[in-house]
């Protein structure tokens, strides 16, 4: 992959030019699906765009010192990391990539949640600090399962390259891994059964409590980009591989859309769980399946 294709992937497709409208679209689908599930009509199609523009035009409270600078920096870091993660997705066939880009993608996907933790603590708001503590506990609990699932997929097919993984035919073990990833996604995206960190009305807005205006707009954008990257990762692993460019894009978008619908419906049908129940769910229930997946992947590898 040379410099030009790398830049094109980061900036055009599946990078920023594609990912930002896709992020707004996904945020709209999420709100619309919840509204339809509740028997409402829901927000108009352009709503996330209007929200974004409006937030850009709002004032921010004056902040000085290192804390203020950090508070301005965290949302920008989160947005750039999430955009980089989207740019790594191998949507177009034979678009390049390198051995180990799966690891880089996982690292970049983890950056926004770390930024959220840091942002809550640097805002010095008590609700922000509670939200950040919850986010930290949540990320410790789901990340073990998330990483084990990715490891089992990579171990069963002998590669850490996303491009190769997307091209290889799916084995039963990979479906187990994809299922484990899907179970982790609501926690990663702060959706309803696991919406502890930004528990609205309960701890105000969690880590985002003190954020206003353009900084909040950046947080919304990074949340949307996280959606695109996370659903895109699952779509890449689950979708059948085709050689035609347009068809590949269509299948990718259709799979992402299906995952978004599934997660939104689950989110609107469930209530928020308490922190101990969430940790117990990931460490006692889901972890068993993840350990089974990775051990069987390793066994298969030794036998072959």
């Amino acid at each position: 992959m040379n410099m030009t294709t790398a830049l094109a992937r980061l900036l055009i497709f599946p990078g920023l030019l594609f990912a930002i409208p896709a992020a707004w679209f996904i945020l709209w689908v999420e709100r619309k699906a919840v509204a339809l599930m509740q028997g409402r009509i829901g927000p108009p199609f352009m709503q996330p765009f209007f929200d974004f523009i409006k937030l850009l035009g709002k004032d921010t409270p004056p902040r000085d010192g290192i804390g203020g600078m950090l508070m301005k920096a965290w949302p920008l870091i989160a947005v750039s990391a999430a955009a980089g993660a989207v740019g790594l997705l191998p949507v177009l066939p034979s678009s390049g990539g390198f051995e180990g880009d799966l690891i880089l993608l996982l690292a970049l996907l983890e950056v926004p949640s770390m930024c959220i933790i840091a942002a809550g603590f640097s805002s010095r708001s008590i609700f922000g600090e509670i939200g950040s503590a919850r986010e930290a506990v949540l990320s410790v609990s789901y990340n073990i399962v998330f990483l084990l699932a990715i490891l089992s997929i990579a171990a069963s097919q002998h590669t850490f390259s996303l491009e190769t993984l997307a091209q290889l035919p799916a084995s039963p073990l990979r479906w187990l891994g994809v299922l484990a990833l899907l179970v982790c996604l609501p926690a990663k995206l702060h959706l309803n059964p696991f919406s502890l960190p930004n528990a609205e009305q309960e701890i105000y807005s969690g880590p985002m409590t003190e954020y206003a205006g353009p900084e909040l707009a950046m947080w919304e954008l990074s949340h949307g980009l996280e959606w695109v990257a996370a659903t895109g990762l699952v779509a890449t692993l689950a979708a059948p591989h085709v050689a035609f460019g347009w068809l590949a894009i269509f299948i990718f978008v259709a799979f992402s859309f299906g995952i978004v619908l599934l997660l939104s419906v689950v989110a609107s049908a469930t209530a928020r769980l308490a922190i101990d129940t969430t940790v117990r769910f990931y460490w006692q229930v889901t972890l068993i399946f993840a350990v089974l997946a990775i051990s069987s992947a390793l066994l298969v590898r030794f036998r072959s």
Partner: protein, 185 residues
């Protein structure tokens, strides 16, 4: 006005985020505000979102006759809402202190403390009236941000029959009606 300002104006009108604050209300107006977000009225069609933090909000919705305890909190929260912002006084209480008038525990009405843009009369007002008031406030917000002019407070028309004896002030329905007439005058 260039294109960006027009887009900004339009977006402000289409995406009012609310922060709801209780200034000693009987909860009648508060449940009507929540009712305006439910399936029957569905204020989200206008882009309305009830936010948890005043920092995120554009429109501050205040209910209740403003007790002495609430004044400090209301001023703090008003300062925490980032500009451009608008204030909607929901119900007859924040406009006139309603049946609690001349009570020594009150320090109302609301516009003695913070500038109010829209009064929504009623005891409690119907959800449709609240949605109408919020939409009006969003318009005022967009206008104010683009022209930098002070906008006079707007009193919304009374929709429905006021309390109809169903709210907490039943039995004193006469004063409900007189309060809303006072607001309208």
């Amino acid at each position: 006005m260039n294109l960006w300002n027009k887009l900004m104006c339009y977006s402000r009108r289409r995406s009012p985020w609310l922060f709801h604050m209780n200034g000693g209300s009987c909860n009648g107006c508060d449940i009507e505000l929540i009712a305006s977000l439910t399936p029957r009225y569905d204020a989200e069609q206008l882009g309305v979102r009830l936010e948890g933090s005043p920092r995120h909000a554009d429109i501050l919705c205040i209910t209740g006759p403003i007790t002495r305890n609430a004044v400090g909190a209301i001023k703090t929260v008003y300062d925490q809402v980032c500009g451009p912002k608008a204030v909607v006084a929901i119900g007859s209480c924040p406009a006139t202190t309603n049946v609690f008038i001349e009570s020594r525990t009150l320090d109302g009405p609301l516009n003695r403390h913070i500038p109010v843009d829209v009064f929504v009369p009623g005891c409690p007002p119907r959800p449709d009236a609240i949605i109408l008031g919020v939409a009006k406030a969003a318009e005022i917000l967009a206008e104010r941000a683009s022209k930098k002019l002070p906008v006079a407070p707007v009193v919304m028309p009374l929709i429905g029959e006021g309390c109809g004896g169903a709210c907490a002030c039943s039995g004193s329905g006469g004063s409900c009606d007189s309060a809303s007439k006072e607001v309208q005058a």
